[in-house]
Assembly symmetry: C2
Homo-oligomer: 352 residues x 2
Amino acid sequence: MALALAEAARGLGRTAPNPPVGCVLVRGDKVVGRGFHPRAGDPHAEVFALREAGERARGATAYVTLEPCSHFGRTPPCADALVTAGVGRVVVAALDPNPQVAGRGLARLREAGIPFTVGVGEAEALRQQSGFRSLVTRGRPWVTYKYAVTLDGKVAAAGEANGAVTSAEARAWVMRWRDEADAIAVGIGTVLADDPRLTTRGVEGGRDPRPVIFDSRARTPLSARALRPGTLLVTAPEADTRALEDRGAHVLRVTGLPDALHGLGRLNLSSLLLEGGPTLASALFAAGLIDEVRALIAPKLLGAGLPPLNSPARGMGHAAALRDPHVEPLGPDVLISGLLHDIPRLSAGGDL
Amino acid sequence: MALALAEAARGLGRTAPNPPVGCVLVRGDKVVGRGFHPRAGDPHAEVFALREAGERARGATAYVTLEPCSHFGRTPPCADALVTAGVGRVVVAALDPNPQVAGRGLARLREAGIPFTVGVGEAEALRQQSGFRSLVTRGRPWVTYKYAVTLDGKVAAAGEANGAVTSAEARAWVMRWRDEADAIAVGIGTVLADDPRLTTRGVEGGRDPRPVIFDSRARTPLSARALRPGTLLVTAPEADTRALEDRGAHVLRVTGLPDALHGLGRLNLSSLLLEGGPTLASALFAAGLIDEVRALIAPKLLGAGLPPLNSPARGMGHAAALRDPHVEPLGPDVLISGLLHDIPRLSAGGDL
């Protein structure tokens, strides 16, 4: 399954509204086929793996990171393809999150008399599929707040020219996260203060996430580096956006943050990497709309500056605990990450 | 040397103005004597180790965490005692920091024809001796700022009843740090808001550090739990402290923070564990008087509250980097610690 998950990871950020999926076919102790879903409209992971295996698929074990589909979409059902190819056994990491679909691929295997196992490598599969699962079950992207902060909790010096907070190692990770995200969001304050490019740099084969600027009054400068054809501008209904639209910006007029996220979902953006600033992040946090946090902590003290969050006050007893927090050194810095919400899944119980 | 350092650690917080020192005597592959300096006025580590070894000290290797003394203080010189006992070799972790003394103990060994090595385990020895070294070379305690903070950089909710930030595991470490510190400091704001006891709890054989309240106008309530006979009150020269002195408080009247720290040094307090709050910590940080930082980070988000530091603004390029930062999980929390100043040492060069 680790190989199948590695295959799936190759599609991260490229498959929406479909999930990133990987498939590996093993016969005896030999891998006879592998595949991943490269992007919506292309064949599914199982198809690529079966093509590579050819006749060797017969009797093989198929490892798939998501329950094989059972319905005719843009491609024929993968569960049928596995049956037709004569695989001997199927191992699935995670069930399909769509309650209308979940279990049907497995039912198809059961009908054909092919034994299967579910839940192997599920935690990692859920992480890979968080965007897809959010889109299917909630109609909005999975929102990950990334921030780089000093040990005394400052993301930037107030009103000062700002240098980088973290190391080159930490910034390289941020670039990988950008490469894997469908969209990247900042608030207008960050655009005006830092004029970020919001591009993926230094990642081999990388591509840029779609820039999303939360800018209720459409104050983004025409010279903003993040403004390019396709950049999404999230504004209030009455904002005057003509000049920005002339530059290629797409405008999403919304009446609040939940409305904004559902608008992004309708555009098939399944994962949103939120890179600041504190005003936008605080509003999303206060609204319960941040799903995951990745804090890059630099071992230095600034003394004064802006915090990563500045929402209305709550007592320490009301702090939101990260689920399954993860700590990892990145060069001289430390990454602490974790979830504020569970990744949507379905119980493996029921009629299986 | 690891054994000698473990011996030395038994004296942490008990030996000021003397250093915590450990000594282990090894003959062949057998430990024949061990000792540590328990407190000022008691014999030095070498004396205990030599007593235990008796005749077996002859030809043994002595591991000592600090250069053996060469002068008559309250006890006779340890360098002479090692020579007299006939040890075959001496291994020293760190040189004496006092420029008038450094090297003399070793010179005594050289005169006696006993070979020695210096610098084995020096980093850990310097850490153990940071208070002693600060007192000897700067006339003030080594100041360690400990704070517990949420992942979004909040030490407390503003104006709210506060729960604990970190876990029981993290708090147990704080209690060990209190046990090892000569003194523990808080600002008057923390006394008024939280009324802390500032005692060591749950540490076997533990003792309390001396409470120090930075309280320029002597506003500490007579009912404050940290107020007990011997509690130090650091005030402005004109503060009216009569009622507090009646309760046993000792008053240190100072004209500024450097003056305050030197006052603590004159009282032989070699290590000060600063436990907040942000106002006192920020003033000490801005004055360059914090030597070491221990940040306990809880993987949760509060949204709003007080930061650990709130000094005058500086650009990110002026952030103070921790030297040799150390990362360690403590239960669900993470400790990030490091130094802002080097621990005073002497070069092993010169006439050695």
